[in-house]
Symmetry: C2
Subunit: 251 residues, 2 copies
DNA sequence: AATAAGTGTTCTGGTCGGGAGAACGGGGGG
DNA sequence: CCCCCCGTTCTCCCGACCAGAACACTTATT
């Protein structure tokens, strides 16, 4: 489903925003050379974005503005799965003392909708809105395990199976074996695949018709998660949270 | 500082996104008639936005995607005042049991960066990213009170003094009197101006050079805030939270 | 001080692409 | 079965995007 008649001007604007996001605040000339555009074009785009609040000027540098947060925040707020799961994720974090997360799938990528920190939680560099490859996290695996096989293949084709660490899943074969195990267990595990020493347990949120709406997880340092915990009390607590959300969504 | 050579194509894209945000998911024809554009133009813009994750297609309807949350979330995460104030706002909410907020000023408007709910917190329809006129909230008044008079006048000229409720501040004169009182007290109050029965106390966060970086607040139903609390224990707790943030920002 | 080299901003014209309008395809209701 | 309305595709013309040059500053260097 590609754009047959892409609006090139809009694509330039978006490229500008994303470049500005990655590099942080910077000036017109630098952006122009990075994106191979003329200075005047960059300037026109930036002032247009500024006029509408999407970009701000700090002295001579430009940076992305909070208008994106308004649009994105509104979008998130209007998602049923967020509204219902939010309190559950918070209490999951409070009960376990660890870091709890909520992820949804969008265009084959995982998007963190929120994170809640318990009293002892590790501080990962995730944030609301962050995108990640589904096959690299427990959250993503919990979602993939509940998508039709054809859909999973589409996602592999579109985004590949990038290996973040040596432990990452690297082949289609390996992925499908892991997903089968997830389906049997009912929850997904990440034991140091994403980050050495970090253990993660995730459970899917499914609608009454069986469609996956997202996934909930808890992340904790391996030092606080014994091997028994990894397949005992912790998954149970995560599954129970996911279950409460499912019940509330399906009335 | 208006755009001298606005990129009209980009403005159409942005208008499309904002219309889509306000109306929620809807189809090409409806958007086209709302924005007085041709169907093909709308379609081209939407597919372009979709290609980059800013818009999604649900059946025949389009809706805004979470890419905005990624950009906005990244922008928020990179703000020093957010990084430092976030834990303080959370503990403010936990201590008081009420709703705590963090607001910053951008282009003359207030933008909520976050909200944290205590155990008894009321559930307002604010969300991270929401924009509000500064003169209508305690948070905004705490900020305005610490901006140069000329800046306040610019903001009045740009955004007016819209009256949300009959109690709202309606004239420049009235606003400046209120701001003077805020400066003397050190904190701002909203006693039912924004919402009948809601009381709100806000304190500014200032850098060592005296510049306002944002404001912190607590919102609670009037039934739980006695008149003594309104000028006693509660402001003290809010001021202390703001103070901790100031100390951490200024090292 | 005067110069040079960097910046962001403005201006203009040519040319490339955005978008109106018409045509297509397909799904749903009378 | 037909009709109406939807999203999508197509084509061609006119308008707008943007390269490049000129301008107005600030800052570093001589």
């Amino acid at each position: 489903m590609d754009a047959k008649h892409p609006v090139r001007t809009t694509e330039k604007t978006l490229a500008l925003v994303e470049e500005l996001m990655e590099k942080g605040p910077c000036g017109v000339t630098e952006l122009a050379s990075d994106l191979q555009m003329g200075k005047s074009a960059v300037h026109n785009h930036l002032t247009t974005l500024q006029k509408h609040g999407y970009v701000l000027k700090d002295g001579d540098d430009y940076r992305v503005g909070l208008k994106f947060l308004e649009v994105g925040g509104h979008s998130r707020k209007s998602m049923e799965v967020y509204q219902i799961a939010e309190p559950e994720v918070k209490s999951l974090a409070a009960d376990t003392g660890e870091l709890a997360n909520l992820l949804v799938e969008e265009q084959g990528m995982g998007v963190y909708l929120m994170r809640a920190k318990g009293d002892d939680a590790v501080d990962l560099d995730t944030y609301a809105g962050l995108r990640t490859n589904l096959h690299t996290t427990a959250l993503g695996k919990a979602i993939l395990a509940n998508l039709p096989e054809s859909r999973v293949d589409e996602i592999i084709e579109r985004h590949g199976l990038e290996q973040k660490t040596p432990k990452s899943i690297g082949t289609r074969q390996e992925l499908f074996e892991v997903l089968e195990a997830v389906r049997e267990r009912g929850y997904a595990i990440d034991d140091g695949e994403r980050l050495e020493g970090l253990r993660c347990i995730a459970a899917p949120i499914k609608s009454s018709s069986g469609e996956v709406l997202g996934a909930i997880s808890v992340s904790a340092p391996a030092s606080r998660v014994s091997d028994e915990d990894l397949h005992g009390a912790l998954p149970e607590r995560v599954l129970s949270a996911a279950n409460v959300v499912e019940l509330n969504i399906n009335y």
